[in-house]
Symmetry: C2
Subunit: 241 residues, 2 copies
């Protein structure tokens, strides 16, 4: 049964974390945003007054009769089906907790350019954005990255993976997180391989995997742009002290 991924067109956004897992596994899926009537279908579904399991917002996944919304929830559902989740219960809850920490960090990254309201333009909240981005780069970025580095270093199965001894959706998500940060904050990330060597090695290793490399080189991978979560506004980026 084909997976149908519903998300906004024209940006990587939160949907990209789901795409990467599907691509890593070589799964049979339809990226509805790329279908002629995909966006229309998505909005119609979101606005339905009859369907019981309505999502609050994209992305959401349809698989037969099951609707799953929120990136971390979708990956929780897909993980075992795609062979991208640990086999043991404790490992699965840990993997999901890591994905939820990534979710929190993604929200904070979004808010570096939209600290007041998503409904306003960046240009209308630039002053607050600079204050928030400065605090984020000083306090939060190192706190999150140090945490993920520790998770890798303290993995009993080796630092090549976040959980267990094989690729999981947490690894592909950490790749995307690092990739987006390198795009948005090149100055702040300069020298990150010294501070977070296992994370940097993971980023390189995931990028080189056959399915991922094929995806990244294809037209299916939308380039980072200033409509997504990770935006490069040079005025918000600066090297650590």
């Amino acid at each position: 049964m084909t997976y149908e991924l519903y998300y906004w067109d024209g940006l990587q956004g939160r949907g990209e974390f789901v795409r990467l897992a599907l691509e890593a596994a070589g799964a049979d899926y339809t990226d509805m945003a790329r279908q002629p009537d995909g966006t229309e279908k998505m909005i119609k579904f979101l606005e339905s007054r009859k369907t019981p399991h309505i999502p609050f917002a994209p992305p959401f996944l349809k698989h037969g009769e099951v609707i799953v919304s929120h990136v971390a929830n979708i990956l929780l559902y897909l993980g075992p089906r795609l062979g991208l989740a640990p086999a043991d219960e404790a490992g699965r809850y840990f993997a999901h907790g890591l994905q939820l920490t990534i979710t929190d960090m993604v929200a904070e990254i979004h808010d570096t350019h939209h600290p007041i309201a998503s409904s306003l333009y960046y240009e209308d909240q630039k002053e607050a954005a600079l204050a928030r981005a400065t605090a984020f780069l000083r306090d939060r970025l190192p706190k999150f990255l140090s945490y993920f580095e520790r998770v890798l270093q303290q993995n009993p199965d080796g630092s090549a993976h976040a959980v267990g001894g094989a690729l999981s959706y947490v690894d592909t998500s950490l790749f995307q997180l690092a990739d987006g940060l390198l795009y948005a904050f090149p100055k702040a990330m300069r020298g990150w391989s010294n501070d977070y060597p296992a994370l940097e090695a993971l980023h390189r290793a995931v990028r080189r995997r056959k399915n991922i490399a094929g995806y990244l080189g294809s037209a299916r991978r939308i380039a980072f742009n200033e409509s997504g979560i990770f935006r490069h506004y040079p005025e918000l980026d600066h090297a650590p002290d």
Copy 2:
């Protein structure tokens, strides 16, 4: 086996969503924040350089050898064990998606008083807080509450519950969400029973349940205060236009 809940002392915070589920089910649990050495134990665990499954932040739950972090993940784990989750798979993923939407709303509520940085005092970000709270009350509050109202109204098993025909952790979480909003934003919430009748009825019904009423009347329920997520700063609260 006793559940051990680890969280900060002296506030409801995110931990309260977990406490309410445990209390609703009459579960055997230890609120570690109320133990003499609970906070110390929690910090020691968070800083461990050996444990593999380290959480990023509280709250987290210990149950035997399993460590679960993030409120929604903890409720995902507890739900079936406490009889507070739907029996069918589609219902469980929907319930988890709802809890993750509550998580997102809670983060936005937090950011109405801390839009720039959690590390700064509210007093040092009051101007941005007013701008963010104004946008939140105008756009986001009605968007979230309308969504939850629709979920209740469109539940095929009746509008008394968010998912299925019995109490779930989503219901206790919606109770807490409404309760916190009524504390933080009494002016903005005035008349909410007209706009969100099913949600208001749910809030009343959950509050009256035997275990919940007993908990709310006990010393275990910390009062809302200005250290938590839901803070009453009168200057941020205003009636809808």
